[in-house]
Symmetry: C3
Subunit: 291 residues, 3 copies
């Protein structure tokens, strides 16, 4: 009944034995940007494994960063108190800088508009559990593809499977950036842009919606308003989707998926969020004690 | 000497055996409003029982709520990572909404001017320990009865005992609301309003003082100033109280109880705050493993 | 490889056996000012010893202090939920007030421009490990000696050793205050002021740099700018230092030590930060179970 039960079932799936005990290992979560899912699921993951957590909920204002300390100096300090650093930062490349400085593993939990690799791992895990087979799937990535780090990381990871086809559906102002498109082409992954969400919904296995990120529009709220309402997943879109297909979303969502979609079995986004716990347990186990 | 000792004594009183171990259960504390006592006592309670805690100290600004996520979506996520959600929110009814969404227990730790039921439990526990008998007691509720959620919840709970008499003492602008008065009348509980704090102090078993909540007055700081100094518990008021009677306060207090009262044995408010730990341990045990 | 290994080595040095288990003791960290090192190292220390931690990352804005509760009332509450209070505050003397109120130990983790005694303990521990012998050493304290609480506490502690000589090197506007100078004179410790950092660097065993604290200059940013760049430790200064000498810094640093110094074996500041963990483990053990 309690999530604990389903957790244990998932641990079996992920080849984690419940008796594994990471005590006395500890992780430090350094969050320079707001988060609910990522921080809490990492902390829960470590605690489920018996390890300890040092938390910084608001590192931007309430750590020595507020006094002007460089990220590198903060990392050199925190690595003395923990075994893994789990970091979210508002600047693209920040995690890479931290990893180059640290003598312990650094997990990038989102670096501005850069990447969010642990999210991509849980996304692929969700697709595998929901659809069974990754090879040959058709995935529509929808919404803010320019600033959405999760779709960027997911596109990278999808490129590792066979015969995947990716569709980009986004307002002109937040189109997928060229670096990802070039990477996909290089890897021989078929991709195309489309403006017809409904047509795609009828033929894709996964419709992956994302939030238009208002914070990246600055004073151009007119552009935000225009982009914001353009591609909405509602009962109409759901109506044309295949029976086995799923709707995903990294969350948080505003109104880009209407709440009347939530009750449909193809609405996979809350199951997707729960999968974050298991994937992050697996990731911590991998880094701390090997596979 | 250390509080640990008295904790164990209280556990016996509450029928909690120290060997109880809630590992690997975890609670998530979601605080959308400032708190010291409530959050720390819940977290301490869970840790004393061997369980784990996921903390969000400032959910309003530093969770996905800051990006516009609905409370319901946040709850659907957090329930995947913990076994109980302990929530304080700035809106009346928020806890009820969360509980209707969640598949795990949600504890309301204060919802705006609504209710604060775990505080009422510890208040009754304090009265029982200090006065011995609940039936037939006379209780004066003093201060901000309109916005004070603790007195609202306490009035509800007092209605379950026999022959209780309740007095409301408050500035006109923050009078007890009709919903509570009607509930008491319906349950056959005697209550009356009074403006004579000293007369009541001389005959009541419990004088329960509360803070006038400046934050609810907005720009009408003149009304706040008028309400603020009206009913103060000082050595004069204490002087007329009976030997067995007690002064309670949910804390924090400003100057509505003068500090020269603190040293009197009838000043029960810091013992009351400590009781929060034991009641919350009992509550967590009840929800997670039964009674 | 992981810091855990070196931690265990240091525990032996500090006479802490890894099997020591402080469960079910807990500490509460109350931070009214930003911190990275101090809070995380105390929390890590307690967790390494098997104990529990209650965290308040931002007590100034997100505890009942925001509603006007006095420090004394907050302390009387928190002491009911934990066994030690670890506190940083923005006012000099705040820790003393807390300690006079509390029935449990209070550790001062920095009180405004007052003192920072646990930092001084780790500083002396660092000097002992790096230089071997405390007696007869020459120490240059550099930078913001008026507002820097770490150098104030360190000067006190150095006075307990024999034949120590202390040099003060600071811009006129942030000179060491008279209370410390008088204390050193009273204890028979030789000290003098100097403006020649390079000459001192060539003869001292320890050059202890500190950050000019911009937050204490208010609107006089011209004074800050003047003070700020005056005494910098760079490759030039390092070049004249003796082979066995070390550069220390309580961190965070801005540019008062240039980053090209970091790679030199005499740059001891990140080792110094790591030592905070061991000293704080020793301190917690001492207070909770004796030596």
């Amino acid at each position: 009944m309690y999530p604990r039960i389903s957790r244990i079932m998932n641990l079996a799936y992920l080849n984690l034995v419940p008796s594994l005990n990471l005590n006395p290992f500890s992780i430090a979560t350094l969050f320079y940007e707001p988060s609910t899912r990522t921080r809490l699921s990492f902390e829960s993951a470590m605690k489920c494994l018996g390890g300890e957590v040092l938390t910084t909920e608001n590192a931007r204002e309430f750590s020595s960063a507020a006094k002007g300390e460089t990220l590198e100096d903060s990392i050199r300090t925190v690595e003395g108190y923990s075994d893994i650093i789990v970091m979210r930062h508002f600047e693209s490349g920040a995690a890479r800088r931290a990893a180059m400085t640290a003598n312990i593993p650094v997990i990038n939990d989102g670096d501005g508009p850069g990447q969010h690799p642990s999210q991509a791992l849980l996304d692929v895990y969700t697709i595998e559990r929901e659809i069974a087979n990754m090879d040959g799937i058709k995935v529509a990535l929808v919404g803010d593809l320019a600033n959405g780090r999760t779709v960027r990381s997911l596109a990278y990871l999808l490129a590792k499977y066979n015969d995947v086809k990716i569709y980009f559906v986004s307002p002109e102002v937040v189109k997928m950036k060229e670096d990802i498109e070039e990477y996909l082409t290089l890897k021989g992954v078929e991709w195309e842009e489309s403006a017809d969400l409904k047509e795609l919904a009828s033929k894709c296995d996964v419709v992956y919606q994302t939030r238009i990120q208002k914070e990246h529009f600055g004073e151009r709220s007119d552009l935000y308003e225009e982009a914001h309402g353009k591609y909405i997943i509602d009962r109409d879109v759901l109506g044309v989707m295949q029976k086995h297909a799923i709707v995903m979303h990294p969350l948080p969502r505003l109104d880009e998926i209407t709440v009347d979609v939530d009750g449909d079995p193809r609405a996979a986004y809350f199951r997707q969020a729960k999968n974050g716990l298991y994937i992050r347990m697996a990731l911590l186990k991998l880094l701390l004690v090997g596979w």
